[in-house]
């Protein structure tokens, strides 16, 4: 076990920032802590680094209890959102700083710096001052600096938050490659679900200082346990329903219960439909999945690869969103005001809470 958190808590005054947070992270894993701003995710990361003292709980890094240790002694690398490079040092000097602290001999130090500059694809730019580097380059130097001492654990606090979308996507891939090549355990904090999906081995969803659930990106997107997770990770349609035995009652419609939802038997539930699982057809016979009802098309909007269609379903006076392939949309030839049938290919159930 590379990182183990046991009931870590933090309060500022009367406000709970992090509440009894427990988590286990495997060696070599890239774990993404995903949550909205103010959810306590950065505070938690700073507590793991020792930069913010926790009120209660224990922190273990590679089976070593570091709860009482200063950040200097935890053997972690930390990457800050705003790069935080030492402005009066060159990129190479920034990377070498941690090695100087460890009194690594000059020759060895230079070799390591050279290696790291190569790793981040900046072999020729070691001489530049931070002010002469782009935001993306500065962030890569910050990652190299954090890796210089070969830390057991790499902690990244919204590392791409200040960069534009294109650079961000590039750096994500770069970071994932580096992390896997060095096989370093990493925790990355972000509020960006795309970033989490692309990078994470596993994602932990945090809200209000509490860890709601942990899972692979697929699990959390398709089969979340919490309404918050369902709504935070992408857009979703939620429909109130009942689960009786193995049947879902949605208004006068009957649908078979999806697998792995037996614990919700006999309860009021919400059906969770991702827009890409929602179907539209002009007749009920043309639906591949289960019929949900019929309604009026409210709007059709271009959404990049797909088109987003909003349908007001008459039976339950609720708007359902569907993502439709443009070819399919053209074939249906629908316009706002048209009457259509709405079906669903697959769905998930959430407890009503």
């Amino acid at each position: 076990m590379s990182i183990l958190l046991n009931k870590v808590s933090k309060k500022y005054g009367a406000q709970n920032i992090v509440r009894e947070f427990s988590l286990e992270i495997e060696s070599g894993e890239l774990f993404v802590l995903l949550g909205p701003s103010g959810s306590g995710k950065s505070t938690l990361l700073r507590m793991i680094a020792g930069l913010t003292p926790q009120d209660t709980g224990e922190i273990y890094l590679n089976d070593r209890n570091v709860t009482a240790l200063s950040p200097q002694k935890r053997g972690i690398g930390f990457v800050f959102q705003n790069y935080s490079l030492f402005q009066h040092m060159t990129a190479a000097q920034n990377i070498a700083f941690g090695l100087e602290i460890l009194r690594v001999p000059k020759a060895e130090r230079d070799e390591r710096v050279h290696e790291l500059l190569g790793l981040i694809g900046m072999a020729d730019l070691g001489n530049r001052m931070p002010s002469q580097l782009s935001g993306g380059q500065q962030q890569r130097v910050a990652v190299a600096r954090a890796l210089a001492q070969r830390p057991e654990v790499l902690l990244l606090d919204e590392p791409f938050g200040a960069l534009d979308v294109k650079i961000r996507a590039q750096l994500r891939q770069n970071l994932r490659d580096i992390q896997q090549r060095l096989n370093v355990t990493a925790i990355l904090v972000t509020h960006d679900q795309d970033e989490a999906f692309e990078l994470a081995d596993r994602i932990g969803v945090i809200d209000g200082g509490e860890l709601l659930e942990v899972g692979t990106p697929y699990q959390l997107y398709r089969k979340p346990q919490h309404r918050f997770t369902a709504t935070f990770l992408g857009s979703v349609n939620l429909l109130a329903a009942e689960r009786n035995g193995t049947t879902i009652h949605l208004g006068d419609k009957r649908l078979p219960a999806p697998p792995q939802t037996d614990h919700l038997a006999g309860q009021s539930v919400e059906m969770m439909l991702r827009p890409e699982s929602v179907e539209i057809a002009l007749t009920p016979e043309n639906l591949e999945g289960h019929l949900l009802g019929s309604g009026i098309v409210e709007s059709i909007a271009f959404a990049g690869v797909l088109e987003r269609v909003a349908i007001r379903v008459q039976d339950w006076e609720q708007t359902v969103h569907a993502l439709v392939n443009p070819d399919k949309a053209r074939e249906l030839n629908i316009r706002p005001g048209d009457h259509v049938y709405v079906g669903v290919r697959d769905f998930h159930l959430l407890p009503l809470n």
């Binding site: 930069l51 200097q72 930390f78 700083f97 001492q149």
Partner: protein, 276 residues
């Protein structure tokens, strides 16, 4: 910002006002002093400035200015740090207090010191004699030049993000190492500039040291007091010579400090790439 090309009458008038104003106030006295001093050639100037009491007063001025600068550099840095980084009750009051030397007349400072530490003062049994003595003169010099380092360093310190220091911590650097390697280089310019101002202020101080020191010839007489006494004694050449000496020293300090304050990135670009 680029200057606008001058076309109409009104800007020319403004420029003329500025030139005449600066000329009268800054240049005219300079010309007067220099021409007055060298009226009879360089020999009398050299004699006047190497006279025993002139040298003594210069030495005293230097001692006071340099010692006060060292003290204010160290204490100023600590005060600036505390005022920027720490929270404590009454902080606003101390912050305001720092500017006191800017607004209080130095003569009053000297007078208050005598009232406190003089023969009939409240603190007359203070173990070190301050009234009419060197320690007293040092104390008032430190007082009048106190705000400069603090006020120069505070904004620079406030603009530093804590994250750079935290980054150094996570890389294993101790608090002292972090200050020395990360914080100090960032605020170095503020410190140096503060020291220049402190030094300049201390070199030129007159009122406070005259009152607390009493201006005893050869004992507590600083260079500025020497000039004042020379004028009284109709020793014009002595006054002129000392004025020029102090002026040259001030300009020299400015030049040296400007050289020290060079852009740090220039130094950085001379750094040899360790990867080569």
């Amino acid at each position: 910002m680029r200057e606008k090309p001058v076309r109409t009458f009104w800007p020319w008038l403004l420029i003329a006002v500025v030139v005449v104003y600066a000329g009268l106030l800054l240049l005219a006295p300079l010309v007067a002093v220099i021409s007055g001093a060298f009226e009879d050639g360089i020999q009398p100037v050299l004699e006047a400035i190497t006279a025993a009491e002139a040298l003594l007063s210069l030495r005293l001025t230097f001692f006071l200015a340099i010692t006060a600068s060292v003290i204010n550099a160290i204490l100023g840095l600590i005060v600036a740090w505390v005022l920027v980084r720490h929270r404590f009750p009454g902080k606003w009051f101390f912050n305001a207090l720092v500017d006191l030397p800017f607004v209080v007349s130095p003569v009053i400072v000297g007078y208050v010191m005598i009232v406190l530490f003089g023969r009939t003062g409240w603190l007359q049994n203070f173990p070190i004699q301050l009234a009419f003595s060197l320690p007293g003169m040092l104390v008032v010099t430190v007082f009048v030049s106190l705000p400069f380092v603090i006020r120069e360093v505070m904004p620079v310190l406030a603009s530093l993000t804590r994250e750079q220091e935290e980054a150094a911590f996570t890389l294993g650097a101790s608090s002292w190492m972090t200050f020395y390697r990360i914080v100090f280089p960032a605020i170095r310019h503020g410190i140096i500039y503060g020291i220049v101002l402190t030094l300049a202020r201390a070199l030129g101080e007159f009122g406070a040291v005259a009152v607390i020191g009493g201006g005893v010839q050869g004992v507590t007489e600083t260079a500025t007091i020497y000039i004042y006494r020379s004028l009284h004694d109709r020793n014009d050449i002595g006054a002129y010579s000392m004025a020029i000496t102090l002026g040259v020293i001030s300009v020299g300090i400015l030049v040296v400090m400007n050289w020290l304050r060079r852009d740090p990135s220039e130094k950085g670009s001379q750094h040899v790439d360790p990867t080569e």
